[in-house]
Symmetry: C2
């Protein structure tokens, strides 16, 4: 890849769904589909909305090792996995940063709803799958 940030970033921006991976207290991998990230900074930081009370949030508080995955269903085996860490942010500034009109559908008390929080993923490295090949890339 000549420009990983552009190639991967463009692919990610087309997806409506992201998959996030965690490791549970027994050491088993877990995963779940999520709404696409509300915000990304290059391909280094990704911000998701989620429920503070959710299983995944609890797992990340115990063990921040994480991965995120985007899959383009139009092309079999076209996907990107990034490995890094996931932080659970519950401060007002972070919650306001990615809040959108309509989110009260999920969080009835609004942006200050204690069951609403932000997952911040920071990528360390990635693997890009395309055309039956895969390519590892580092993230500065």
């Amino acid at each position: 890849m000549k420009d990983a940030e552009k190639t991967i970033g463009n692919m990610i921006d087309k997806q409506k769904v992201a998959f996030i991976g965690s490791v549970d207290s027994d050491g088993f991998p877990n995963m779940k589909a999520m709404l696409a990230p509300r915000k990304r900074v290059g391909i280094k930081e990704f911000y998701f909305t989620t429920n503070t009370s959710s299983l995944r949030t609890g797992q990340y508080k115990e063990n921040s090792k994480a991965c995120i995955y985007f899959y383009d269903r139009k092309f079999l085996y076209h996907g990107v996995m990034m490995i890094g860490t996931m932080e659970v942010l519950e401060d007002a500034a972070s919650k306001e940063m990615i809040w959108r009109f309509g989110d009260t559908m999920y969080y009835k008390e609004g942006v200050t709803d204690p069951d609403y929080c932000v997952l911040k993923f920071t990528a360390h490295k990635g693997r890009y799958y395309h055309a039956f090949k895969n390519e590892v890339f580092d993230i500065e």
Copy 2:
């Protein structure tokens, strides 16, 4: 759920893609999209084709803790995750069991291709996501 095997099994049979999770040697979760399983025994055993040389196969040989996930893109948050173990099978009987005409597209030497192997997932428990709720189920 009255009949987890039927409800979950029917949902799985409609999917063209499965997602599999592993834990790498540094303890980070990894995941990847796969062709749907070639065979399932209830919702207890699932058999996938893959490359013996792949990253995932190597990870499962080191650490068999695994999860598989199916996601129905027609309904946001409709998915099922199962946690269990993944075995790498390289014996002739297992490889012949799920081989299909046309697989030479992926494995040029045919069913005995050393780069073709079978991933067998055995589920211990599951979590079913639907209608903004989730339900845990045990697998006998």
